[in-house]
C-alpha cells in the first residue's frame, strides 16, 4: 500500500507541475516594463516553490514507501534532531524572507518610484476611471488639461453624464466621457480610480496592475504601455449580479491615431 500511495502522490505532483513547465495555460504577454519585472518576481517564486513542492512531495512519497514495507526492524526511537531542526528553520526562513525582500523592490517600483516620477511628468495623460454597476466610465480632461468639478445631483446616466460633471463651470465644459479607454503607446498614463456605488476592481491582465475602486476614496495607478493593441479591462472585485460582464477595453494606439480620436470626441462637446 505504501508503494501505491507513493506512486499516487508522485503522479499527482508531476501532473500538477507539468502545465507550469509547458506553460499550457499561461499569462498573456506583459506590455509594460513593470509587467516584465512582476513576471520576473513570479518566475523567481515559481522556481523556488516548484523545487520545494517537488522535494517535499517526493520525500513524503519516499517515506511512505520506504517505511511502509514489512520488515522485522523495530521503529527508531529517536526523538528528533535539534541540529536538523535549526537547519531547516533557517533554510525556510532564508528562502521565504528572501522572496519577500526580492518582491519588495518590484512593489516599490510599481507603487512608488515610477508612480511618483510619472505623476511629476508634466506631459502625462490623466484618465479618470469611475466604476459603477456594471460599466466603466472614462473621463478625459479635454483641451484644458483639467477635470471639471462634479456634483452627484447632476448624475444622469440616460443623459450621458454618469459621473455628474458640471458642464457649466470652468474645466467641465470640454471634459470627455467615453466607455472605453484609449491611450497613446509609450506614453505615461495616470489612472485615477473612483467608484459611484460599490467596490469594483480595475484590472488589465497585460498591464499586470490591479486596484479596487472604492467609493469615497481616490485610487491611483500608472503605466506606460509599449505595445499597441486592444486589451480587456475586467472587474476583479465582486460588485453584484453583473460582475461577470463588467468589462471595458483599453486601446493602446499610435500617437497620431490617438490625436485623431480625441479630436473627434471633443467635437461632440458643446
Amino acid at each position: 500500500m505504501g508503494l501505491l500511495l507513493a506512486i499516487v502522490v508522485w503522479g499527482i505532483t508531476l501532473a500538477m507541475s507539468i502545465p507550469f513547465v509547458t506553460q499550457t495555460w499561461w499569462m498573456p504577454e506583459p506590455i509594460t516594463a513593470l509587467g516584465r519585472e512582476i513576471d520576473g518576481a513570479f518566475m523567481f517564486t515559481l522556481v523556488f516553490t516548484g523545487v520545494i513542492f517537488l522535494l517535499a512531495q517526493a520525500a513524503l512519497g519516499y517515506a511512505v514507501w520506504r517505511f511502509g514495507r514489512q520488515s522485522d526492524e523495530p521503529a527508531s526511537d529517536s526523538h528528533g534532531n535539534t541540529r536538523l531542526e535549526i537547519l531547516w528553520t533557517f533554510a525556510a526562513a532564508a528562502i521565504f524572507v528572501g522572496l519577500a525582500l526580492y518582491g519588495y523592490t518590484v512593489w516599490a517600483e510599481t507603487r512608488f518610484i515610477d508612480h511618483k516620477s510619472m505623476v511629476q511628468t508634466e506631459d502625462r495623460l490623466v484618465v479618470e476611471v469611475t466604476g459603477q454597476q456594471f460599466v466603466w466610465n472614462m473621463r478625459y480632461t479635454g483641451e484644458d488639461n483639467e477635470f471639471g468639478p462634479t456634483d452627484i445631483s447632476l448624475i444622469d446616466d440616460a443623459a450621458g453624464n454618469p459621473v455628474g460633471v458640471d458642464r457649466s463651470g470652468p474645466g467641465g465644459a470640454d471634459d470627455i466621457m467615453v466607455p472605453e479607454m484609449r491611450v497613446p503607446v509609450n506614453k505615461d498614463v495616470e489612472v485615477v480610480l473612483k467608484s459611484k456605488d460599490v467596490l469594483h476592481n480595475f484590472f488589465v491582465p497585460e498591464l499586470r496592475i490591479k486596484l479596487d475602486t472604492v467609493p469615497g476614496l481616490v485610487g491611483k495607478l500608472a503605466f506606460k504601455a509599449e505595445k499597441e493593441g486592444k486589451y480587456e479591462i475586467v472587474c476583479s472585485e465582486l460588485c453584484g449580479l453583473g460582475h461577470y460582464k463588467m468589462r471595458s477595453f483599453l486601446h493602446v494606439v499610435s500617437q497620431e491615431e490617438y490625436d485623431a480620436w480625441i479630436a473627434e470626441q471633443a467635437s461632440y462637446v458643446f
Binding site: Q57, F96, D197, G240
Partner: protein, 607 residues
C-alpha cells in the same frame, strides 16, 4: 451509578467527585452538559452542514459549465432564483456566498474544534468534563440557532445574500445595490450569534486546558491535538469578538442608518443613497482581522490530529515535539498580524504591504517546520496503513500543495496578478478546505471506535480515501491554471470576457473541474453510508485501546463511561508519544504507564 473498573494500564490515580448521570432523554441527549454528547452534536451539525455546502457547490459548478441549461426540480424549489430551472447570475452569487459561509463557519469551525475538541480534549487531559459544562451546552445551541438563521436566508423574500462570504460593503450594506433584502440581515445575525457561541467555547477550552489537567500532565506533555485545540481557542477568543463587533456595525448600517462602512455620495442606479462618512475598507480590516486567524482556527486542529495519528501509526514519537509546539504557537501569533495580505489591492496604503508581506512569508517558516517534522516522524517508522493514517498522509500532501501557492499570494507584486482569481480559490480550498477536511476524516475514523464502540468499515474508508484524495486534486489543481489565464473569481459565467471565451481553454478546464467535482461528491455518499452503517452495524470494538495508542482516551473503557474516568483520574508519567522505546516490553508506552509498567519490574530503567 455503574461501577467502572480502572484500566490495568493506569499505574496510579486520584479519586475525584463524581456527578450523577442524567436520567431523562432530554437531559441526556438534547440539552446535555456532557462534553461527549455535545461533541457528537457538533459533529452531526457539521455533517448536515457539509452536505448542504456541498450541494451548493454543485449548483455553482453546474452553472459554470451550463449557464443556460434548465436543471430539473430547481425551478420548483427556487422559482425566483432559478426560473424554469435556469439559475440567474444573482442566484449563482447567492449559492456561492452561502457555500462559503456554511463551509467556513458551520463545518470548518465547528467540527475540528467543537466536535473533536469537545469530545477528546477533556479525556486526553484527564478531566471529567469541560470546565463550564453549561456554557458548553449554550455554545452548541447558539451555534445551532446560528445555523437555522443562516438556512432561513434561503427562504425569505429576495433569497440568500450575494455579497460573498466576506460580505464586503457597500454591496452588503446598501440594499439597493443587490436584489436581496432580509437575507443579508439574517446572514449577519447568523454570524453574530455564531461569534457569541465561539467566544463562549473558546473561554471554555482555554480554562479547561489550563486548569483541569491530570496530575503529571505538564504542558510539555500535552498531546499535540490538545496544543492545537488550546491555541485555536485563544485565536477564537481574540478573533470572534472583532467579527461580532463588525457584524453589529454592519447590521446598524443596513437598518438604522449609521454609516460605519458606507461613505457619502453613493449613487446606485441614479439614486443617491443617504449615508455619510464611512469607509468600506474599515470593514475589510475588521473582517480579515478575524478572517485570517479563522484560517488557522480551521486548519490547526487538523495539524494536531495529523501529528497524533502519524506518530501512532508510524510507531514513532513525534519528530521534534518541542519544535512542533513552538511552531503551533508561532503560527497562532503570526496569524494575527498578517490580515493585510488579503488587502494588497484594496486601496489601503501601499506602505503597509511591506509589513504584511514579510510577516506573511514568515508564517511559511513554522509551516515548513511542521511539514519536515511530519515526514521526520514517519522516517524510520513501521507504518501501519490504517484509514486514519491514509487520511493524515493525505493531509500532509494537501497542506504542502495548498501552502506553497500562498508564497505567491503573500507577495504584493505577484498578488497584483493573482488577487481575486481562481488561483486564490485553488489555494484556500486546498489548504483550509480539503486539508482541514482530511484532518476531520482522519480524526473521525481514528476516534470512531472510542466514541461509538464500533469501527468504521475499513474497506469503505480506504475506497473513500483513494477516490477523494485524487478527486480533490483533480478539482483544485486545474483552478491554478484558470488563475493563470487570469480567470477572475465569482464570475457567474465566462461569456462576459473575451479572453476567457476564445481559445483560452477556460471552458475545458471548467468542464474537467465540474466532472471531477461531481464524481468526488458522489464518493462522499460512500463516506456518509459508511458513517451511518458503522454506527448501527459496524464491527464492535470491545478493547480499550484498539490502535495501541498512548494517550489517556485509550485508557478508559469503550465507549467512555459517564464522567470519563469514573472518578478515578490517572496520573501521567510521560510524554504523549512514547512509541518503540528501546528496552520496553511493548512498542508503545501509555501516558499513564509508569516505568515499571513499561520496562518491567527490576529493569534498570524501571528503578
Amino acid at each position: 451509578m455503574t461501577e467502572v473498573q480502572v484500566s490495568p494500564e493506569v499505574a496510579e490515580y486520584t479519586e475525584v467527585h463524581r456527578h450523577p448521570e442524567p436520567k431523562s432523554f432530554l437531559s441526556k441527549w438534547i440539552f446535555s452538559v456532557d462534553h461527549k454528547v455535545i461533541g457528537i452534536q457538533y459533529l452531526l451539525l457539521a455533517i448536515v452542514a457539509v452536505f448542504v455546502g456541498m450541494g451548493l457547490s454543485l449548483l455553482v459548478r453546474l452553472r459554470l459549465i451550463m449557464p443556460e441549461t434548465p436543471i430539473p426540480l430547481l425551478g420548483a424549489l427556487f422559482p425566483v432564483g432559478a426560473p424554469d430551472g435556469v439559475m440567474t447570475p444573482e442566484f449563482y452569487l447567492a449559492m456561492l456566498t452561502m457555500h462559503g459561509t456554511v463551509m467556513v463557519f458551520m463545518v470548518l469551525t465547528t467540527a475540528p474544534q467543537g466536535g473533536f475538541g469537545n469530545y477528546i480534549l477533556p479525556i486526553q487531559i484527564g478531566a471529567a468534563d469541560m470546565a463550564f459544562p453549561r456554557l458548553n451546552m449554550l455554545s452548541f445551541w447558539c451555534t445551532f440557532v446560528s445555523f437555522l438563521l443562516l438556512m432561513a436566508a434561503f427562504f425569505v423574500e429576495g433569497g440568500a445574500p450575494m455579497s460573498g462570504w466576506t460580505g464586503y460593503p457597500p454591496l452588503s450594506a446598501v440594499p439597493e445595490a443587490t436584489v436581496q433584502g432580509i437575507g443579508q440581515d439574517l446572514w449577519i445575525a447568523s454570524i453574530a450569534v455564531f461569534c457569541i457561541a465561539s467566544l463562549l467555547a473558546a473561554l471554555n477550552f482555554i480554562v479547561t486546558t489550563l486548569d483541569l489537567r491530570a496530575k503529571g500532565l505538564t504542558m510539555m506533555r500535552l498531546p499535540l491535538t490538545c496544543w492545537t485545540w488550546f491555541v485555536t481557542a485563544i485565536l477564537g477568543l481574540l478573533a470572534f469578538g472583532v467579527l461580532l463587533a463588525a457584524g453589529v456595525l454592519l447590521l446598524l448600517d443596513r437598518n438604522v442608518g449609521t454609516s460605519f462602512f458606507v461613505p457619502a455620495g453613493l449613487v446606485v442606479s441614479d439614486k443617491v443613497i443617504d449615508h455619510s462618512g464611512g469607509s468600506p475598507i474599515l470593514w475589510q480590516h475588521l473582517f480579515w482581522f478575524f478572517g485570517h486567524p479563522e484560517v488557522y482556527i480551521a486548519i490547526l486542529p487538523g495539524m494536531g490530529v495529523t501529528s497524533h495519528i502519524l506518530a501512532t501509526f508510524a510507531r514513532r514519537t513525534v519528530f521534534g515535539y518541542k519544535a512542533m509546539v513552538y511552531a503551533i504557537a508561532a503560527i497562532g501569533i503570526l496569524g494575527f498580524v498578517v490580515w493585510g495580505h488579503h488587502m494588497f489591492v484594496s486601496g489601503m496604503s501601499p506602505y503597509s504591504a511591506f509589513v504584511f508581506s514579510i510577516l506573511t512569508m514568515c508564517i511559511g517558516v513554522p509551516s515548513a517546520i511542521k511539514t519536515f517534522n511530519w515526514i521526520g516522524t514517519m522516517w524510520g517508522g513501521k507504518i501501519r496503513f490504517t484509514s486514519p493514517m491514509l487520511y493524515s498522509i493525505g493531509f500532509v500532501s494537501l497542506f504542502v500543495s495548498g501552502g506553497l501557492s500562498g508564497i505567491f499570494l503573500g507577495q504584493p507584486t505577484v498578488d497584483l496578478y493573482f488577487h481575486d482569481t481562481y488561483f486564490v480559490v485553488a489555494h484556500f480550498h486546498l489548504i483550509m478546505g480539503v486539508a482541514a477536511i482530511f484532518g476531520m476524516f482522519a480524526g473521525l475514523t481514528f476516534w470512531f471506535p472510542k466514541m461509538f464502540g464500533r469501527f468504521m468499515d475499513e474497506r469503505l474508508s480506504k475506497i473513500h480515501f483513494w477516490l477523494t484524495f485524487t478527486g480533490v486534486y483533480a478539482i483544485f489543481g486545474p483552478m491554478h491554471y484558470l488563475g493563470m489565464l487570469p480567470h477572475p473569481r465569482r464570475y457567474a459565467e465566462i461569456t462576459g470576457v473575451d479572453y476567457l471565451t476564445a481559445t483560452s481553454g477556460a471552458a475545458d478546464l471548467h468542464l474537467f473541474i465540474t466532472v471531477s467535482a461531481i464524481l468526488t461528491m458522489l464518493v462522499q455518499f460512500v463516506f456518509l453510508y459508511n458513517f451511518v452503517y458503522s454506527l448501527i452495524k459496524g464491527r464492535t470494538c470491545t478493547e480499550d485501546n484498539p490502535w495501541e495508542a498512548t494517550t489517556l482516551e485509550w485508557a478508559i473503557s469503550t465507549p467512555p463511561p459517564h464522567d470519563n474516568f469514573a472518578g478515578k483520574v490517572p496520573h501521567v508519567y510521560r510524554g504523549p508519544y512514547d512509541f518503540s522505546l528501546s528496552g520496553a516490553k511493548r512498542d508503545f508506552a501509555m501516558q499513564c504507564n509508569d516505568d515499571k509498567a513499561v520496562y518491567g519490574p527490576g529493569s534498570a530503567a524501571g528503578d
